[in-house]
């Protein structure tokens, strides 16, 4: 490109600074949204993995009846193992100074100075904890509402409660976020634990394998061999749990978020591309006459195209220089927010070089590729159409709306015909707004589908309050404890506990909840998605939930499976799969059959008590407290309680991050969509300044002229609404299903939110009309001769 051509594009850029600024802004927003997602995605993905791997997560765990130092030393010598560390976990409760109990996973640590597996890092206060002191995980401290130096009451099931001091706060990225799980994680010394009466039975031993740490099959083989070795040495192994290699326990939340990042990055890229096509098309439309002149003086299409490519490249580079650092800065905020939410420790915000290169390429290639669409089109126009076709389409606009011929309102008729007089332009604008609209509607629909799924799930839970005992109790003792509690309308007793399924290769699965339900149980009513529900006819039937099925896809309806709990094994026939939202892996059987297989004492079968309360019984929290007190006073040790409010708040917490993300996406789309709209309408009106001047010169009132353009905008808004509503429909269904499978292992109960349509329509209509009004007004305040000669 030669000097004069370079000068021309430079001056073209700066002679209409506002338009150039709008173009830079449009490309900036497009690149920003894509880079923001790429940056956040890459850092979160990497750091969630690194922060988890840095904790040296256990490859597998074995639960032993007892363990001695000799066995540990012997195991440490095994060439297949890297590290071996005995650690006991007890589900307990911590009660803060307000008296609120929080379910707590209490980890008993032998030596705080020599933690080699499932590590945590010290964050605040002091360490290691001495007798009567505990360390608390950072997010748990927020849930419990305490800080270093505070005292809290620690209740270990089946033992008395003791006051403990929070010595320090630790970061433990290997745990699920405490605020989502509504629980706490604490670390306690062996001495303190034993002093509180904690039993050393059933020790969990953590192992890391030496090689192939990411190969689950290898880990399974090693786990099985170590298990055999321990059994041969005369110890009993009760349970074996193999972890997904390098998979954070909160992987579902992270993966769901990452899925959304990926989808919306792709949608944003499309939206940005369409926006750029639109903006460049508007720019070139203004340069149409100049293109014609350049051709007339001998320029080839390629020479002209080269100039505009150079212009777009310059604008893109400016936008890129602004967008890349801005995206990095904003992504840091998003990453910190998500990391706090998801319990990820961020060690570095560095974006890999290849991704920066990708961002730069995307920032240049997308605008250039999108611009090609318009550049090729405009440079290919004949001189005649460039120089003399300024008023094209007026007649055709009227022809296209000939069905309105009986309308007497010429202003409305003109507005409508003007909007369809240049179908290509209309198409580009409608597509741009519609892509934005579709993304906006999808993001709102996804949020609504999640809410709907959760609401449906909640409707399936019928109890008001659930008390989980530390062990199975005699139901008569429970009845006696609750005698005289008039506000209890009804109660249901559920047997159960953590169980293990023995696979065909004789290896036990990870633990899941096995519940024995009484006939006609009303505690919940999960929908059957395959097979049938329990028939309670004594055929040893078992129903699994979709989470269990997803974890063990080899288990099919009709299979007989062996399930072990309480050291006893029963055989069950799978008859159905139910959809359980917000829970963990679980399976349900007939209570009578459960007791027959797993309970020695026929009377001792109450593990969970579901309460259905009288609506007029009084303040819920008082009732819950009273129930727990009555049970405790009668020697029934409660491990955990759950009210329907807790369930609802847990659901809501699981959604918070996703909802927040969807909100950010919606806002981003609104900004991109509106920029596109503003640029298009203002330039469109500028191009038709002559028409405005003519209307004024023949006596058109300002209000009537404004009405014509506003009516035109209204037509665009309505058309865009229809297109975006239609486009969003299949995408909502697809994304609801895909997202649900990642997040909940089950498709979402999708809904199409008409609220989103309304919001988008109102936003677009208001914006169209306001921009038209302001742009037309700008011209109407000028003398007619100036408007007619406006170029």
């Amino acid at each position: 490109m030669q000097v004069t051509q370079r000068k021309k594009i430079n001056r073209d850029m700066w002679s209409d600074f506002n338009r150039t600024l709008l173009l830079i802004l449009g490309i900036f927003v497009g690149i920003l949204s894509v880079c923001l997602i790429i940056d956040s995605f890459s850092v979160l993905k990497r750091e969630s993995s690194i922060s988890y791997i840095n904790t040296e997560p256990a490859s597998f765990s074995l639960w032993l009846n007892d363990i001695d130092d000799d066995l540990v030393e012997e195991l440490k010598k095994d060439e297949l193992l890297d590290e071996v560390e005995p650690r006991r976990m007890v589900r307990s409760r911590i009660i803060n100074d307000k008296g609120d109990p929080v379910e707590t996973y209490l980890y008993v640590v032998d030596d705080f100075n020599d933690i080699r597996i499932n590590k945590f890092s010290f964050s605040d206060g002091a360490s290691p904890p001495q007798k009567g002191e505990v360390l608390m995980e950072e997010l748990s401290a927020n849930v419990v509402g305490c800080e270093p130096g505070d005292n809290a009451e620690l209740k270990i099931p089946l033992y008395s409660s003791e006051s403990v001091r929070i010595k320090g706060i630790v970061k433990a990225p290997g745990f699920k976020p405490a605020w989502i799980e509504k629980c706490a994680y604490c670390f306690i010394g062996k001495d303190t634990f034993e002093e509180m009466g904690g039993s050393t039975d059933f020790i969990q031993v953590l192992f890391t394998v030496k090689d192939h740490k990411e190969d689950k099959e290898h880990i399974s083989e090693v786990a099985y061999r170590i298990r055999e070795k321990i059994i041969e040495s005369g110890h009993m192994v009760n349970r074996c749990e193999i972890n997904e290699p390098n998979e954070h326990p909160n992987a579902k939340q992270i993966n769901a978020l990452m899925f959304l990042f990926e989808i919306f990055a792709a949608l944003n890229m499309i939206l940005s591309g369409v926006l750029i096509i639109n903006l460049i098309s508007v720019l070139l439309n203004n340069q149409k006459k100049q293109i014609g002149i350049m051709k007339a003086v001998g320029a080839k299409n390629s020479s002209i195209g080269e100039m505009y490519y150079a212009m777009v490249a310059r604008i893109s580079v400016i936008a890129l220089c602004l967008a890349v650092p801005a995206a990095y800065f904003l992504s840091k905020k998003i990453v910190v927010f998500c990391a706090d939410m998801l319990n990820i420790e961020i060690s570095s915000f560095t974006i890999p070089h290849y991704l920066v290169a990708l961002e730069i390429s995307v920032g240049i290639i997308i605008p250039m590729a999108a611009a090609s669409f318009s550049i090729v089109r405009y440079c290919g126009k004949s001189i005649k159409s460039c120089l003399f076709d300024g008023q094209s389409g007026i007649g055709s606009g009227f022809k296209r709306v000939s069905f309105l011929s009986r309308w007497k309102n010429l202003i409305l008729k003109m507005g409508i015909s003007n909007s369809v007089r240049n179908l290509k332009k209309l198409l580009i604008l409608v597509i741009t707004i519609s892509v934005g609209g579709a993304v906006f509607i999808i993001s709102i629909n996804l949020r609504a589908s999640l809410d709907n799924t959760i609401a449906n799930a909640q409707k399936r839970i019928n109890y008001d309050f659930l008390a989980v005992a530390s062990k199975n109790y005699d139901c008569e003792a429970v009845d006696k404890a609750l005698e005289g509690a008039e506000w209890i309308r009804r109660k249901e007793y559920i047997s159960g506990g953590m169980a293990f399924y023995t696979r065909e290769d004789r290896i036990q699965s990870n633990s899941f909840l096995l519940a024995g339900l009484p006939k006609d149980a009303d505690i919940f009513d999960y929908p059957v998605i395959s097979g049938k529900g329990l028939s309670y006819n004594g055929d040893n039937e078992i129903v699994i939930n979709q989470l269990f099925h997803s974890e063990h896809p080899d288990v099919k309806i009709g299979d007989s499976i062996q399930i072990t709990t309480n050291k006893k094994t029963g055989e069950w026939k799978v008859v159905g799969i139910v959809k359980e939202i917000g829970g963990d892996e679980a399976a349900y059987v007939n209570q009578t059959e459960y007791n027959k297989f797993y309970i020695d004492n026929e009377n001792e079968y109450v593990r969970e008590i579901a309460f259905f309360l009288d609506e007029n019984g009084g303040e819920s929290s008082q009732i819950y407290g009273d129930i727990e007190k009555r049970l405790s006073d009668n020697g029934i040790d409660i491990q955990n309680t759950n009210s329907i409010n807790d369930v609802q708040s847990a659901f809501a917490n699981h959604l918070k991050l996703i909802a927040g993300f969807l909100m950010i996406v919606s806002l981003m789309v609104i900004v991109v969509g509106l920029i596109s709209l503003v640029s298009f309408i203002t330039v469109n009106i500028s191009e038709r300044a002559k028409e405005l001047g003519i209307m004024m010169s023949i006596g058109g009132r300002h209000i009537d002229i404004i009405k014509i353009f506003m009516c035109e905008s209204g037509v665009i808004a309505v058309l865009s609404l229809f297109v975006s509503a239609l486009a969003a429909f299949p995408l909502t269904i697809y994304l609801s299903k895909a997202f649900g499978r990642i997040f909940l292992e089950a498709p979402l109960d999708w809904v199409y939110s008409f609220k989103s349509l309304m919001i988008w329509f109102v936003l677009i209509s208001l914006c169209c009309m306001a921009v038209s009004h302001l742009a037309v007004k700008k011209f109407l305040n000028k003398p007619v001769c100036e408007i007619i000669n406006y170029e």
Binding site: Q5, K8, I293, V297, G298
Partner: protein
């Protein structure tokens, strides 16, 4: 039949717009030839077909039928790409509304065609920047705008803009200068200046084809072609 010194030959050129009932014939079989060094004026009323003819002669528009032969080459079948190159090498166009690049200075507007043509014409490509500068300065002097070289179109008068447009048309030394109502937007004094400029160009051996409404101006040409309803009504050569 074309003669040896014919620069432009038009044979049975027709141009039809629209289809069916809305069909309009703008040119109805025009035959015409223009010799090298002639100053030809085309006159006619609004809608007579003169601008259509001019557009076809300059390759801006294509005839529905018939052919246009320029310097022995039939340009009728040329693609847009070939026409661009052909125009750059052979034609200089002066528009009624000057059509200058608003963001380029007077000098840059004149240089622009050289830069475009240098990409495909070796003789232009080989011109050094000093020679290019010299050439532009000479042409600016010729049309009397050398003092305006750093001004933008919006900073100069209509007459000065039109002279700039003429200079731009001349800069690649075209065989034919086509001027569409070149004085249509100018006052009497400026019109006179432009006409004198054209006359001096003719003396230098250039060929000019000018469309005008103004009979007085047409009288100053060597030949006057009158168009009416898409046909040549008269063709009067004065020399």
């Amino acid at each position: 039949m074309s003669e040896k010194n014919d620069l432009l030959v038009v044979e049975k050129v027709e141009k039809t717009y629209g289809e069916g009932q809305s069909e309009t014939k703008a040119l109805k079989g025009v035959d015409l030839s223009i010799k090298k060094g002639q100053f030809v004026a085309i006159i006619g009323k609004s809608g007579s077909g003169k601008s259509t003819l001019l557009n076809i002669l300059s390759g801006i528009d294509k005839p529905t039928s018939g052919r246009v032969v320029f310097d022995g080459d039939d340009i009728t079948g040329y693609s847009e790409k070939q026409l661009s190159v052909w125009r750059g090498k052979n034609i200089g166009i002066v528009f009624q509304f000057f059509q200058l690049m608003p963001t380029l200075t007077v000098k840059e507007n004149i240089v622009l065609p050289i830069e475009f043509v240098s990409k495909y014409e070796k003789s232009v490509k080989s011109i050094s920047s000093q020679e290019k500068d010299k050439k532009v300065t000479e042409i600016m002097k010729l049309v009397g705008i050398e003092h305006l070289e750093n001004k933008f179109p919006s900073e100069i008068s209509g007459g000065e803009q039109q002279r700039t447009a003429v200079a731009r048309a001349l800069v690649n030394d075209p065989k034919l200068i086509i001027a569409d109502e070149p004085t249509g937007n100018l006052d009497t004094e400026t019109t006179e200046q432009v006409m004198q400029l054209f006359e001096s160009l003719i003396k230098d051996g250039k060929t000019i084809l000018m469309v005008t409404h103004n009979n007085e101006l047409a009288e100053r040409a060597d030949r006057i072609i009158t168009i009416k309803d898409g046909n040549i009504l008269s063709d009067i050569s004065k020399r």
